[in-house]
């Protein structure tokens, strides 16, 4: 919660916020939190390995990716964190029992198309939206 301060003390909340950030980073280090930030990881789903090539014509498989990593200080810009995620990270440090850390999740998804046979030997080409992770971020 923000308190109204006197005009002469305007820079004080900023300093307090920076101090809180530093303290939180130090706390995170001392608690041994993972340094691995939220990022995109490779996840390849291979239809060939599943032995599905008798009915899936294309693709052979697809790079789906997944998001994993710590949404902790510092929430650098590469993490693509929302403003709320930054606030939530701070509040989490103040009250970790009540407020969880932000989640590392997809922020941008793309579609793929799959071409396959059905039981009647008809062929189906279907567009699946939001199947491939393009970017991850803290929410």
């Amino acid at each position: 919660s923000a308190h109204k301060g006197r005009q002469g003390n305007r820079s004080k909340p900023q300093r307090t916020s920076q101090d809180a950030m530093k303290a939180a980073e130090a706390a995170a280090d001392s608690l041994g939190f993972s340094k691995e930030g939220c990022k995109k990881h490779e996840l390849y789903v291979s239809f060939r390995d599943l032995g599905w090539q008798d009915w899936i014509i294309a693709p052979e498989g697809y790079a789906a990716y997944y998001c994993e990593g710590e949404c902790a200080f510092p929430l650098n810009s590469y993490m693509n964190a929302t403003n709320h995620a930054i606030v939530q990270t701070l509040v989490h440090f103040i009250n970790p029992e009540t407020v969880p850390k932000p989640c590392c999740a997809p922020t941008q998804l793309h579609g793929i198309s799959v071409l396959y046979f059905d039981d009647s030997s008809n062929v189906i080409l279907k567009k699946y939206r939001n199947m491939v992770v393009r970017a991850c971020g803290c929410h």
């Binding site: 294309a58 693709p59 008809n122 199947m131």
Partner: protein
């Protein structure tokens, strides 16, 4: 307990799935595809005209090949007659959520009627899921080059919908589409079935019974083989098929799992 192996070159983690995990993953992927079980198509249809055409459509929309990977199918295909995707098909494809091809269910004896020179086809489009709207539908018939005709000789190819099939009565036919074909022409003839297939979807009992009639320039009914038209008894890569483009009429959500 599963084996873990780190590929130093790629930096990717590879892990062999246990059989239970494998079954669960297959179940999840089938659920996303909207399939109740793993389909079991006939093994001998892979090089038929319809799958080749559909692969052509797939390649048209696969603008980012690095995301899709390449199918063994693309490299395994012999030099076949490609039922090429037209600009019209590309337009339909952009609007569609799903495209399906349908095989002719009539066997050779049924296809070529004994009492007539006409050919008859049957396509079952009832497997189109509910809530889908047909945006376009085409019957594709291959025409070979035929020798012994003048280059300027033309034929009229007509496709009819068989409206009734009462015993010992003449069938009622509705003309769906018609086009001229040169004797020297070679390639796929495309007939528009859009409005009729939408009606078939509502009244599935009519079940896409089609009749193809060939006339020469004097209006005489002739055997379609004479103009080089290929039936289901012809080469696999030239067999007739129907392709339907459709769009989901509403946003559908999968059940929470």
């Amino acid at each position: 307990n599963s084996s873990v192996d780190v590929d130093a070159r790629s930096g990717f983690l590879h892990r062999r799935l246990r059989s239970q995990e494998r079954r669960e993953m297959q179940r999840e992927i089938l659920s996303i595809l909207g399939l109740p079980h793993r389909p079991r198509p006939h093994a001998r249809i892979k090089h038929n005209a319809a799958p080749v055409f559909m692969l052509d459509l797939y390649n048209t929309i696969s603008t980012a090949p690095e995301l899709h990977g390449y199918s063994y199918y693309e490299t395994a295909l012999p030099a076949q007659v490609q039922p090429a995707v037209t600009s019209r098909d590309s337009r339909f494809l952009n609007d569609a959520d799903t495209v399906m091809s349908f095989v002719n269910l009539n066997d050779e004896d049924e296809e070529v009627l004994s009492h007539s020179r006409a050919w008859q086809f049957r396509f079952d489009i009832s497997s189109i899921p509910e809530g889908e709207v047909i945006t376009a539908a085409e019957l594709r018939i291959y025409k070979d080059f035929v020798e012994g005709h003048s280059d300027k000789e033309t034929f009229i190819v007509s496709v009819f919908h068989v409206l009734e099939e009462p015993l010992n009565r003449e069938k009622k036919l509705l003309l769906l589409d018609q086009r001229d074909a040169w004797a020297s022409e070679e390639g796929w003839l495309v007939f528009d079935l859009t409005s009729t297939s939408s009606a078939w979807l509502v009244r599935s009992e009519q079940n896409l019974q089609l009749r193809l009639v060939l006339e020469d320039s004097r209006g005489q009914e002739r055997n379609p083989h004479l103009a080089g038209l290929v039936t289901s008894s012809g080469p696999k890569d030239k067999q007739p098929f129907v392709v339907v483009f459709f769009k989901a009429s509403e946003v559908r959500y999968r059940n929470a799992r």
